[in-house]
C-alpha cells in the first residue's frame, strides 16, 4: 500500500497549504519525480543541503510532540525548486509563463494548481534558471581550477579565461534563446531588479575570482564593471545572432575582451608615464632650489 499515514502539527500558514495539498497528491501518484533533465547537474543542489528523499514504500511516520517532522520531508523551497526545474523543459514551447510551470508540475505528478504558487509573469522561473546557470558555471570553473592545481591542465591567460567563462555561461542560454528576450524584460521589472542584479554581480565576481584576480583596491570595481559590460553586450549580440553556432557572438566577445585588455595596458602605461613626468618635474624643482641656494638643511 502506498498511501502513507502522516500526522502533522504545523502552524496553519496559508502559503503552506497549497504545497501541502500538492504533496498529498504526489503521495497518491507515487511517480518517479526526477525528470531526465535532473539527471544532469542542472538539478544538483549545492552540497550540504538536505537531499530530498522521496519516501519509498509504506512507512508510517508521524510527527512527535514538538511538531518535528521526520527527515524525508522537503521544505517548500525545495519543492518549488523541483517544480521550476521541471518547468524549464517546457519553456521553449510555452515561454517563461505559468503554463510552463503548470506543465512542469504535471510531470512531477502534482496538480497544475501548483503554478499558483508563483507569479504569473514567470519571474521566479527565470531567476531560478539564472541561479542554476550560475551554479553550473561555478562548478565548471572550480573543476577547471582543480585540474590546473593538479598540474593536469595549463593555466590559461586572463583574456582566454574570461572569454571561455563568458562563452560557457552564454551557451547555457542556447536552448532557451528564442524566449530569452522575454526573460530579460521580466528581469528588468522593478520587483526583480535587486535579485537579478545580485545574481549578475555574484556571477561576475566568481569569474574574476577563478581568473585569479587578487586586487584589493579600486581595481576590484573597475574589473568587475568592465566584465559586466562585456557580458551584457555579448548577451544582447547573441540574441540577434543567426550565424551557425553563434560564431559572430564569440568573435564579438573576443574583440571586447581584447579591447578590455588593451584598455588596462593603456591605463598602466599612462600611469607610468605620469609618474615619470612627476619625477622629472620634482627633479627640476630640486635643481632650481639648489641653484637658488634654498635647499639648506635647517
Amino acid at each position: 500500500m502506498e498511501f502513507v499515514v502522516r500526522c502533522q502539527h504545523y502552524p496553519p500558514v496559508r502559503a503552506l497549504q497549497a504545497s501541502a495539498v500538492l504533496r498529498r497528491v504526489s503521495d497518491e501518484h507515487k511517480k518517479e519525480p526526477f525528470t531526465p533533465s535532473s539527471q544532469q547537474q542542472f538539478d544538483t543542489h549545492p552540497a550540504g543541503h538536505q537531499p530530498e528523499q522521496e519516501p519509498q514504500g509504506p512507512r508510517p511516520s508521524y510527527t512527535g510532540q514538538g511538531g518535528q517532522e521526520s527527515e524525508d520531508y522537503e521544505s517548500e523551497e525545495q519543492l518549488q525548486r523541483r517544480i521550476l526545474t521541471a518547468a524549464l523543459e517546457f519553456v521553449p514551447e510555452h515561454g517563461w509563463t505559468a503554463e510552463a510551470i503548470a506543465e512542469g508540475a504535471k510531470t512531477l505528478g502534482l496538480s497544475v494548481a501548483a503554478a499558483g504558487m508563483f507569479h504569473s509573469d514567470g519571474s521566479e522561473l527565470i531567476l531560478h534558471f539564472v541561479s542554476e546557470c550560475n551554479a553550473k558555471l561555478s562548478e565548471l570553473l572550480e573543476k577547471e581550477q582543480k585540474l590546473v592545481q593538479l598540474g593536469e591542465a595549463e593555466k590559461k591567460p586572463t583574456d582566454e579565461f574570461l572569454r571561455d567563462a563568458v562563452e560557457a555561461r552564454l551557451r547555457m542560454l542556447i536552448p532557451y534563446i528564442e524566449k530569452w528576450p522575454q526573460a530579460l524584460s521580466v528581469l528588468l521589472l522593478p520587483r526583480n531588479i535587486p535579485s537579478g542584479l545580485s545574481l549578475l554581480t555574484s556571477m561576475i565576481d566568481d569569474i574574476w575570482h577563478y581568473a585569479g584576480d587578487q586586487s584589493t583596491d579600486f581595481n576590484w570595481y573597475t574589473r568587475r564593471a568592465v566584465l559586466t559590460g562585456i557580458y551584457n553586450t555579448t548577451e544582447l549580440v547573441m540574441l540577434q545572432d543567426s550565424s551557425p553556432d553563434f560564431e559572430d557572438t564569440w568573435r564579438f566577445l573576443e574583440n571586447r575582451v581584447a579591447d578590455a585588455m588593451n584598455m588596462s595596458n593603456t591605463a598602466s602605461q599612462v600611469q607610468s608615464t605620469g609618474e615619470a613626468v612627476v619625477q622629472g618635474l620634482m627633479g627640476a624643482a630640486v635643481t632650481i632650489r639648489n641653484l637658488a641656494g634654498l635647499n639648506q638643511r635647517r
Binding site: V5, R24, P46, G67, S195, H209
Partner: protein
C-alpha cells in the same frame, strides 16, 4: 487508516537562502530565485558568518590603508626632522598590517570599500595637515587615530569572541596583535609630547569624530 492523515507536514523553510558552504547568516538576496553563493576559496574556512567577517575585514583594510596614507603625509612634511625616524618606523609597521589585510581580503573574498580613493586623499591630507602644525601636532594626530583604532579593534575582538572564539581563532590573533601594535603607537605619540599641542583636545575630538565616520561608512559602503 486515513483517519489522522490530512496534510503531510512540510518543513518550513527559513525563507532566506543561506550561503550553503559558508554557513548561516542572512545574505542580501531574496529567497525567490537567488543563488546560494558557492564560496569556494580553499583558504577561507567553511561555516563562517560571512556578513560579519566581510564587514570586519573591509573596515580594517580601509583603516590600515588610511593609516598608511596618514603616515605618508606626515613623512612628506616631517620626514627630515628629528621625529622622522620615529614616524618612519610606525609607518613600516602599518605597511605590514596592510599587507596582512590584503591577504585576508583575498582569502575571504571580501570586497574592498568603494571609498578607498577618498581615504587615499583624505588620509594624506590629514597626515600632512597635522604635520604642518608641527611635530607635536603630528603626534597628536597619531594619538587620536591610534586610540580610535584600538577601541575599534577591541570592539571587533568582542564581537568575534561573542560569535565563536574557536572558529575565528586566527582572525582574533591577528586583530589582537594589531591592536597591541596600535596601542604602542599611541604610547609613542604620548611620549613625544602629543598632549602639549595647542588645542589638543579640540584636535583630538575632531580627528576621532572623523575616524568614527570613516569606520561607519567603510563597513557599509
Amino acid at each position: 487508516m486515513a483517519a489522522v492523515a490530512a496534510f503531510p507536514a512540510v518543513r518550513l523553510s527559513l525563507g532566506r537562502r543561506r550561503c550553503l558552504r559558508c554557513g548561516p547568516g542572512p545574505r542580501p538576496v531574496p529567497a525567490g530565485g537567488a543563488a546560494p553563493r558557492p564560496c569556494s576559496t580553499q583558504a577561507a574556512p567553511q561555516g563562517i558568518n560571512k556578513p560579519i567577517i566581510d564587514r570586519i575585514i573591509r573596515v580594517d583594510h580601509a583603516g590600515e590603508y588610511g593609516a598608511n596614507r596618514i603616515y605618508a603625509g606626515q613623512m612628506a612634511v616631517l620626514g627630515r626632522s628629528s621625529v622622522g625616524p620615529v614616524i618612519q618606523q610606525m609607518w613600516n609597521q602599518e605597511k605590514v598590517h596592510l599587507k596582512k589585510f590584503n591577504e585576508l581580503m583575498v582569502a575571504y573574498r571580501v570586497r574592498p570599500t568603494v571609498l578607498l580613493p577618498f581615504w587615499n586623499v583624505a588620509g594624506f591630507v590629514l597626515g600632512a595637515g597635522s604635520a604642518l602644525l608641527g611635530k607635536k601636532g603630528a603626534m597628536a594626530c597619531t594619538v587620536a587615530v591610534e586610540e580610535s583604532i584600538s577601541d575599534h579593534y577591541n570592539n571587533q575582538i568582542r564581537t568575534l569572541m561573542e560569535e565563536d572564539p574557536e572558529k575565528y581563532k586566527e582572525l582574533l590573533q591577528v586583530i589582537k596583535q594589531f591592536r597591541d601594535d596600535e596601542r604602542e603607537h599611541h604610547d609613542i605619540g604620548i611620549e613625544h609630547d602629543a598632549e602639549a599641542t595647542p588645542a589638543y583636545s579640540v584636535l583630538k575630538t575632531a580627528i576621532q569624530l572623523g575616524c568614527k565616520a570613516a569606520i561607519f561608512l567603510s563597513e557599509r559602503i
